[in-house]
């Protein structure tokens, strides 16, 4: 039971990071019906920026709390800028093109960004210093949850609550939902589709960057290729929950996190990465619309 609880908690921490990335996938899909395969790269870039800024500040001997805040802000800012630019360069010109063209553009963007970081940084694994503080009050239950996992849970909860509030209650949030439900009608009430898409990319990229920092602090290392596998897993989580659905993405991420964690704990850690793909195959054959997804038919 102890072992199970431990696995469940580490699965929850993992799942909440997947959720931060999956949210970007699902939001972009909801609005422009595009699987943005370059989304994982945005997450990787966010983590790299945090490493560069954090590392520089650390060697200058700055207070860890300041490092954490400044590097997170820098990562969020850069990731949002990359997301925004990516949309303008790779997707906006293809707004009326067939969906397959945009998908290919996304894959191209993903490769380009990977190679950009490979060339400008390094192909080696770099160690990612943990900027996250240690909490003394967690000492008695350290066997179950460590400080990093605890912080991951807290931060993802905060981000999700803020995002939910934004989407539910603000005018731009309502406009985002309206646009995903009926794009042409959204235009007819005067919503500027391009601004909605821009905002979506900025929010998705920012949450991905936060996910990037958290998971790199958790894993302790970083490389230009981490975006690929994390991106695929978050994609699986989004599909599992029902792509286009925000609660679905969160739910799917937790299910994936738990499956991975329990699977590695009880079966074998060799298969850690394959659980995601097993889930993907299962969901696509059994219920392609996902757990909370809707079938795409409309009432006329």
């Amino acid at each position: 039971m102890d072992y199970f609880l431990k696995l469940l908690l580490s699965g929850t921490a993992k799942g909440s990071i997947y959720a931060l990335i999956a949210l970007g996938y699902t939001m972009v899909y909801g609005i422009i019906k595009l699987i943005n395969f370059a989304h994982g790269e945005i997450y990787m870039i966010g983590a790299f920026v945090a490493l560069l800024v954090g590392g520089t500040l650390q060697s200058a001997g700055v207070n860890p709390a300041v490092i954490l805040v400044v590097s997170t802000l820098a990562a969020v800012f850069f990731a949002a800028a990359y997301g925004l630019t990516m949309e303008k360069i790779a997707y906006k010109p293809l707004r009326t093109a067939p969906r397959l063209s945009v998908l290919i553009s996304a894959i191209g963007m993903s490769m380009f960004l990977q190679n950009l970081v490979l060339l400008s940084q390094t192909e080696k694994y770099l160690s990612f210093p943990s900027f996250l503080p240690e909490f003394l009050f967690l000492k008695p239950i350290r066997g179950y949850i460590n400080s990093t996992q605890f912080i991951i849970l807290i931060i993802t909860s905060i981000v999700m609550v803020l995002l939910t509030l934004l989407i539910k209650f603000t005018l731009i949030g309502k406009a985002m939902r309206a646009t995903s439900q009926d794009r042409e009608m959204a235009q007819l009430v005067g919503i500027n589709i391009n601004s909605v898409i821009t905002v979506t990319f900025i929010i998705g990229s920012a949450t991905a960057a936060i996910g990037g920092i958290l998971i790199c602090s958790y894993m302790g290392q970083i490389n230009y290729y981490i975006g690929f596998i994390a991106g695929i897993k978050a994609f699986v989580a989004a599909v599992l929950g029902g792509i286009g659905s925000i609660p679905g993405a969160v739910l799917g991420s937790f299910v994936l996190g738990w499956t991975e964690s329990l699977g590695t704990g009880y079966i074998s850690s060799d298969y850690e990465d394959s659980f995601a793909f097993i889930i993907l195959i299962l969901i696509l054959t059994v219920k392609p619309s996902g757990i909370l997804g809707r079938k795409e038919n409309q009432k006329v």
């Binding site: 939902r177 309206a178 042409e184």
Partner: protein, 237 residues
């Protein structure tokens, strides 16, 4: 004063010409109806006005301003709102949120609340269902919501596309009464596209008959109701 003017408008879908040199002129305060069979190009005419499709040739003028190539949000901000065919309620948004979207471009946020209250006195059914999702409303309620959503934008020109479609006759009567009232009380100019030519011509001042993308006849509503050709083709007499 001229409210809307379409001048030799030609709109294409790919290579297919949907509108062929369409000329329509609407004055301020009028109710104009455009009647025609399925596929005649009625909805295309409205979408060409709203900037969802842009005419390849010809011009659209709104209050003497050339809006032919404006983006949809710009056109809405000038004062043109459309109630599209099939109502197009945002199904997972509540009634109130649907109205919020109608008021998306309004700057005078303070007055919006009053306008919502006015809408709710006009349509008490919507008031009862204000927190319900749009997709769960009945067809008639959805039509009322679609009209309300267009009205909260405070349009000078209201475009309606087949508001009677798929509704029970008694609801259709109500809807047409409301349309006439909007025109009478608010002075809103109305451009009404209908297959139900009989109902439309009864509330309209003038009418245009569209056939295969071409305007065949235009006359006063009274004359059109008496016109032999129109009676045979569109009034089923």
């Amino acid at each position: 004063m001229s409210m809307l003017k379409l001048e030799n408008v030609e709109t294409f879908y790919g290579n297919i010409k949907a509108l062929n040199s369409v000329n329509i002129a609407i004055d301020e305060g009028e109710i104009i109806t455009l009647i025609g069979a399925n596929g005649a190009g009625k909805s295309t005419t409205l979408m060409s006005v709203c900037g969802i499709v842009h005419p390849k040739r010809g011009h659209v003028y709104f209050q003497d301003q050339d809006i032919t190539h404006y983006e949809p949000e710009k056109i809405v901000s000038l004062g043109i709102s459309q109630v599209p065919e099939g109502r197009r309620i945002f199904p997972q948004l509540t009634v109130l949120e649907n109205l919020d979207m109608g008021a998306f471009l309004r700057k005078d946020k303070k007055n919006i609340k009053n306008d919502f209250d006015e809408i709710f006195t006009l349509f008490p059914r919507l008031a009862e269902r204000r927190t319900q999702q749009g997709g769960t409303l009945s067809g008639g309620e959805q039509q009322m919501l679609a009209i309300s959503r267009a009205l909260v934008a405070k349009p000078k020109l209201l475009l309606l596309d087949e508001p009677s479609l798929g509704l029970a006759p008694i609801i259709v009567h109500q809807i047409f009464e409301i349309i006439a009232r909007i025109n009478r009380d608010n002075g809103t100019t109305i451009f009404l596209v209908e297959q139900n030519a009989n109902m439309a011509l009864k509330i309209a001042h003038r009418g245009y008959v569209l056939q295969n993308g071409v305007i065949k006849i235009h006359d006063t509503a009274k004359n059109l109701l008496a016109n032999e050709e129109v009676r045979k083709a569109y009034l089923g007499v």
